[in-house]
Symmetry: C3
Subunit: 442 residues, 3 copies
């Protein structure tokens, strides 16, 4: 691994974030070869690499710990795995691609016929060149994944099957980092980091979140930002179980994944549906000038399932480009370093920053001069020759004045006026400085 | 009349209701020749025939009884009616078709010229072969209905006009049958049975409701079911007037009519508009795979006008196929035994049963494990190999768990998830048995 | 000016308002030549002319008076203005068209080269034949407006520039007239009258409002009607500032402008968005049979900006045909006597009357016979031969009975039933007379 951090150029260019795609992609490339799972050394190595970028707090939760309805499972580690033919050739080799082994496979070392081996082999008939990704976390079994074309050509033979894994007491590992803001109210950014060599579904989110954390750590934002790098499902359940009291501080949140491919943005709303984060994402995407899709919450997906379970019901949505299960490369060996690219990663980074900026600037004001319009002209805030249309900034001031009733947020004003909330925020600042508004503390 | 009940095959085939169309149609065929009106022996004969199928309670309300703003009218009976030409030939003959006489015509027996007769003749210029259906319940008059083609060809002549009717003190008759369920809360099924030889508008509802009552009487449903066989308008007013206290038990209701033709289903919503029955019908029709139409409530139509009057405002909608007044055969002799058919009647029966099933199974649960998802796998409720999409039943469990907050009904979950409520109900039962849910008693 | 009032024929033809277009147009023609501004004698002469039609109360508010955040400006008057070339020819002449001078220009009398003059000249490159309308109320400057074709051809020369204006202490003038109704609750009709020779944007509203006031003064309406003839912005601010307590009586209001051209009606909703006046206008336009457009409130436009400022938030919308800024003639010399026409003015007048009629008749009733339908037939209110569709008036009665719960207004019933509220109002009157309804006093 490099001893140069990927985020260094990002940190150095806080004013010009246009070139973040390269470093983000570079971090993905480094993390790609590691065989991660929901527990074990692959996950730990991943967090160690991220620790070079951000001061990650690493937690270990022992096997058997009760986390709500779940139990932290045995820790899985794997050193090697293969199927050899009778000539002693490795015809399926974990060292070639870690997707070849069903994740969480129990150890096995046996000779067997093709008929015995066959039920343990997984392939994709529709995509005969790709290796599928399969897991078996909660049922003890083993298996291999391979291209369907290869599976079809396997001859009758006596095969030597070896999975040199351990599934034993140990611990579940996750990483956490909090950027302190002016308020203790938090925005949660959660990414799962438990998938092995899969770039879009997993590493795109991991890498963008890491660089985002590095960037925000240089600022003094309004909100505090909590970053979680966790194994999917069991990780968010574990974190929520250990932080039940803390959860009330989380005001908004995003699960990030599949944000490195060339697809349009897809946002899955929180269970609340019209939460501030849902509206902020909708606003940014609507003003992006690009096609996008916003879908309703459903209880299937990533860790938003847990954050949005009815006992928590947090305002956490999920930002993706091509959504899980809807692109052919999903959960296959084709979700590789070619499937993600620096430009998409950069745009994802910028878009997330824009969403956070909306949340940061979404203040509520009260008009201190609410009876008729105040005379903006005498304060130098308005064009002086009448008869022509007002400019965008003047319209923004008029909207902010008209709708600042002490309850409507700038985002609410943006939704009604169809103006960009960032222009409204600038207008509000100017009006505030002119003594025409007062911010309401919520 | 047959001494074999039509519902016998239905009762015998509770498990396989596919063949209900034949018996339902058979009952229509038997009832078709009877000259019904809002009072009188035709209505009584009809109820007597239905009594062979279900243990109908028959009520008689005397002429002159005050029912809210209305008064029960004189009883009308008719034995014969005709117009004879000067050759003594019956050129219009009640015995040929009971629509030939304006329903509730006062007795008349006179010689008259065509000019005198003409204002008493009704026809349909647009449908010159059909006999229209006309009534005059509340204004004492008489008249004949005939095909327009025949009307146009009537020569000058001296005609003998005879209507051998009586309009005298008597009573208004209606039938009532209540299938007792586990709860005293009721679902009302109301059909008007006051139209003479008209199949779709009248007998389709009468016959389907009868067979439905016979079917439900074999079960022990959650709700009690009250079936009313009444004359239109005055019948529902009379029943409501005599059961004012009872009305609070009616939780849902359907008026059934025009459900025997080949048209798509049309549902007219209750005045409440979003009542549970309205949502249940919308759900069943949306999942039927067939085209359908749902219309808003209006105060014109059938007895839902009375059930939905502002002093009651019951959750009663009206289920039809081709809606009244919107098919040319409506209120003409063309609404005959050819216009309705066993297949449509069977489908109507099944659809109503499906609606009732939704109401029966629309329970409300609270998730007993609301913090994060419970681990379905360890309870044998979830597929164990990860990486593929969940099956429909697994999605149903996730939705039920996520939205069971003690207030949202299964139908509410179905509307949000766009899943079939019957699949959700099965999922809820499985989760309930696994101890993950508790039903809320409303 | 004529000593015959324009409204005389309107007053004489209260029963037949079809011919109001001519008189309304005639008044515009008389007012067109006057050089109005937000203060000064042009505005006063305009009000004096209107005083021949209606007993206008004329207010003078001295320069320097504080009106909320604003100060009443100096009074502007102009006698003459021109640019002469070195031959002594008036090449730009205020006497030819009062738009030639930038409204509120300070006095100037100087010789200057084209280069010095050029920054003070305004034209419309896209409309080279038209003179633009420009103002400079709150920044002391001067200027001339002229056709772009003429501007381009101006030779180098020594020009004599004269603006014989005064900008001195004086007063701001506005006119007010209240038609007393049965209630002290008011409907506000506000028009700006501060534009010089511009017909659609200004005089169409002034003239229609005047004739409307004359017409209403002959009646004894339910509401009182307050008519304001004011300079834009500063006028409504001044009035609101001087009538802060009175404002609570204003229940509904309309700003009228740009209602003389041939465009479709455009209604801009009040800030409240679903106020009774907004719904009344939507109802009338929807039932007009003509295309129209309804837009949301925005804080840019006419005096509704002030009436709808958050400190007042009055239910005041703005009725236009072609909306300001969206027709090329807007704020140019092409908004002249050819651009408006009697037919459009007449239709605008009728439409506003129809809106006011909806507000006047929008009562709330409670059904005194709410359990089932009352028997309309025995009261002579319903057709007696059954079997055919009810007529419109019968449907209106059924709707009024069904929805008159003491809270729903006739307009609310109209919206749900999609019937014309005026038919519903007639039905309600008939039912009221039959003792079936009681009006609720709000």
């Amino acid at each position: 691994m490099s001893d140069q951090t990927c985020c260094a150029p990002i940190l150095a260019s806080a004013a010009n974030l246009a070139d973040v795609g390269g470093p983000i992609y570079g971090l993905i490339r480094e993390l790609y070869p590691i065989c991660r799972s929901i527990t074990g050394n692959g996950f730990r190595r991943t967090l160690q690499r991220l620790s070079q970028e951000i001061p990650l707090q690493i937690h270990e939760v022992p096997t058997g710990a009760q986390v709500f309805d779940w139990t932290v499972p045995n820790e899985w580690n794997i050193r090697d795995a293969y199927v050899k033919n009778s000539q002693g050739e490795r015809i399926i080799d974990f060292c070639q691609h870690n997707l070849h082994v069903v994740n969480y496979s129990v150890p096995v070392r046996r000779q067997m016929s093709l008929a015995e081996l066959r039920p343990h082999l997984h392939s994709l008939p529709d995509r005969p060149e790709w290796i599928p990704y399969r897991t078996s976390y909660y049922k003890q079994t083993w298996g291999f994944c391979l291209p369907h074309r290869q599976l079809e050509q396997l001859p009758e033979d006596q095969y030597e099957v070896c999975i040199d894994s351990t599934l034993e007491e140990g611990s579940l590992t996750y990483g956490e980092y909090c950027v302190k803001g002016q308020s203790q109210d938090e925005i949660l950014i959660s990414v799962h980091a438990c998938h092995p060599s899969l770039c879009n579904d997993n590493l795109s989110g991991v890498s963008v979140a890491t660089c985002l954390a590095a960037h925000l750590s240089q600022l003094r934002p309004r909100y505090s930002y909590r970053f979680l790098f966790i194994p999917g499902t069991i990780g968010s359940i574990t974190w929520l179980s250990r932080n039940e009291e803390h959860v009330r501080l989380i005001k908004h949140g995003l699960v990030l994944t599949c944000i490195g491919d060339r697809g349009d943005f897809t946002y899955k709303k929180s269970r609340q549906g019209e939460a501030e984060v849902d509206r902020a994402v909708a606003h940014v995407l609507a003003h992006s000038g690009h096609p996008y899709k916003i879908g309703d919450f459903s209880p299937y997906g990533y860790d938003e399932r847990q954050y949005c379970s009815p006992g928590f019901n947090l305002a956490v949505g999920c930002l993706m480009r091509s959504p899980h299960g809807q692109f052919p490369e999903y959960h296959t060996s084709a979700d590789n370093l070619d499937f993600v690219n620096p430009d998409s990663l950069s745009e994802s980074f910028q878009t997330i920053l824009a969403i956070l900026e909306v949340l940061e600037t979404n203040r509520t004001y009260i008009n201190l001069s609410p009876k008729c319009e105040p005379q903006l002209g005498k304060r130098g805030l308005y064009g002086s020759v009448g008869g022509a249309s007002p400019r965008e900034f003047e319209m923004a001031m008029l909207w902010v004045l008209n709708l600042s009733d002490g309850e409507t947020t700038l985002l609410g004003i943006a939704e009604r006026s169809k103006m960009d909330v960032r222009v409204l925020a600038r207008a509000a600042t100017a009006l505030d400085q002119a003594g025409l508004l007062r911010e309401m503390v919520r």
